[in-house]
């Protein structure tokens, strides 16, 4: 694809928006093709690979034994981090975690954590002494747009297939991590003046702000985040919220289907 300079690109995207069209021919609320693969990595206790258009991300789950916080003696803990390393694209530079990667990790983390899909009490081994810490690491290998949704999907899919390695730590038998619910993120980007679903790299380059919506199994909001420069109206939010409902139901089915295999 020809790399348009941003000003020309913005003009082109505005022109397309007038006809309700997109650069790659998709409909406004249409996502790119994607594949989900789970349990694909040796050494990760749960893992998933998501390819969404040209975006490729992996998520891996690891466990550790911890002592619980004194004020929550029967609760385990969850940590979710994302690495946007230089492998992911020409624009990414080495160095300490960028604000972009911190935001990415924290938005995915909040969606999973706030959905309550992990019962922290189920991670208790010995109250006040020993609990499981669950750590999800997300690794973006190729960024061609909308890494948030790809990362969110990889994270929950990896979690849902994770095996608690109790034998290796000498605290019982290996067992599946209990997960209730499948929080799913849907991200919208303002392109040519209006929001679209699952923006491509070019649309992000010539677009404006993003809104990330994470919905739980009953369609409740668990996480919201507006990123980048731009403003939106309550009416615009109402519209994308509806689209998010449909999108999340679809993706949730695909996660369930992959699990059955």
């Amino acid at each position: 694809m020809v790399e348009l300079v941003p000003t020309l690109l913005r003009q082109e995207l505005a022109r397309l928006a007038e006809d309700d069209a997109r650069l790659d021919g998709r409909g406004r609320w249409e996502g790119r093709e994607f594949t989900l693969e789970t349990n694909c990595l040796y050494n990760a206790e749960g893992s998933a690979k998501v390819v969404m258009g040209g975006t490729v991300v992996y998520a891996g789950v690891k466990f550790e034994l911890r002592t619980p916080w004194p004020d929550r003696p029967t609760q385990g803990s969850l940590m979710c981090g994302a690495e946007l390393r230089p492998v992911a694209g020409r624009k990414y530079e080495p160095g300490p975690p960028s604000p972009q990667s911190i935001e990415l990790g924290r938005v995915v983390d909040r969606g999973i954590r706030e959905s309550g899909c992990i019962d922290m009490e189920s991670l208790c081994i010995v109250p006040g002494e020993k609990v499981w810490g669950v750590m999800i690491d997300i690794h973006v290998l190729s960024d061609r747009g909308n890494i948030f949704d790809a990362c969110g999907l990889a994270a929950i899919a990896a979690l849902r297939t994770a095996i608690v390695p109790a034998e290796r730590f000498d605290v019982g038998d290996d067992h599946k991590l209990q997960i209730k619910g499948t929080p799913i993120m849907a991200s919208f980007t303002r392109v040519g003046g209006r929001f679209v679903l699952d923006a491509s790299e070019q649309e992000e380059l010539g677009g404006d702000e993003r809104i990330h919506i994470t919905l739980g199994d009953e369609g409740h909001l668990h996480s919201l985040q507006k990123g980048l420069r731009g403003v939106f109206t309550p009416a615009e939010f109402a519209e994308i919220f509806e689209v998010a409902q449909t999108r999340c139901v679809e993706l949730r089915k695909i996660v369930a289907k992959e699990e059955e295999n």
Binding site: P97, P99, Q100, I102, E103, G105, R106, R110, R113, E114, S115, G116, E209, I211, G216, G219, H220, L221, H222, S223, L224, Q225, K226, G227, L228, R229, G230, V231, F232, T233, P234, F237, F241
Partner: protein
């Protein structure tokens, strides 16, 4: 959100523990121009929160790679003083403050007329001196007033406000206990004149109906706080330099 189920946050008459109504904000006071070294500054107290903001610039943006040819960048640092919380915070940035700094900067870039200052940088320093829930919103309010105090042209102010949910009830402006034991928090940055939203985060559990009510409360509060902001700026220019 903590979401502990066993802490009572509403009185039997439906009022809140501190006596506020469901849609009532904590007391807010604002003073502009309180830091002589800065080009613009403000202090906002909101409940027991104390936030200070200072503005420097526009100045040359360096290193050059952060420069934008067509506009100014806004460089925000949201920082909690070590003594601002119950347990001391180690000085230096953490992941939470970096995330808040990023989305706050993006919100402010949405209202400042950044096109007027290509290749330059405007520094906005937000220092939380005392924290009692809702500091990111108080910081946004302080930053808006400091930018106005510095004479930086904006197409609107941003008012930082938050609503949330406690005991399955939507309430405006969570205080510390409500934040610790509540079920949802919806902090937003509202443009009081256009009714647009420049800042949005949320966590917890909200149905669409609850979201709509929380947002209605937020718009109501934004109007009230906006008046206090305008008043502070008016006093600043009537009263001369602090």
């Amino acid at each position: 959100m903590g979401g502990y189920g066993d802490v009572q946050l509403l009185n039997d008459d439906g009022s809140r523990l501190d006596g506020r109504k469901l849609d009532e904000i904590r007391p807010v006071t604002i003073e502009a121009g309180i830091l002589p070294a800065a080009e613009g500054s403000a202090m906002v107290t909101h409940g027991l929160n104390v936030a200070v903001a200072a503005v420097y610039g526009p100045m040359e943006a360096h290193p050059r790679k952060i420069q934008r040819q067509d506009r100014a960048v806004i460089d925000v640092r949201y920082n909690m003083a070590p003594f601002s919380t119950s347990d001391r915070i180690r000085p230096g940035f953490n992941r939470r403050s970096r995330e808040i700094s990023k989305v706050t900067a993006e919100a402010l870039e949405s209202v400042v007329l950044v096109e007027r200052y290509p290749r330059s940088k405007i520094r906005v320093e937000i220092e939380i001196l005392a924290a009692e829930a809702g500091t990111r919103c108080v910081g946004i309010t302080a930053a808006s007033v400091a930018l106005a105090d510095a004479g930086i042209p904006m197409r609107d102010m941003i008012v930082g406000v938050a609503s949330g949910k406690i005991e399955d009830t939507v309430v405006l402006d969570l205080d510390k206990a409500e934040d610790n034991y509540g079920q949802a928090d919806l902090p937003v940055g509202i443009l009081p004149n256009t009714g647009e939203i420049a800042f949005l985060q949320m966590d917890g559990d909200l149905s669409l109906e609850e979201y709509n009510l929380a947002m209605e409360y937020n718009f109501k509060a934004a109007k009230e706080i906006h008046e206090i902001m305008v008043d502070a700026l008016r006093r600043r220019y009537d009263g001369g330099e602090a």
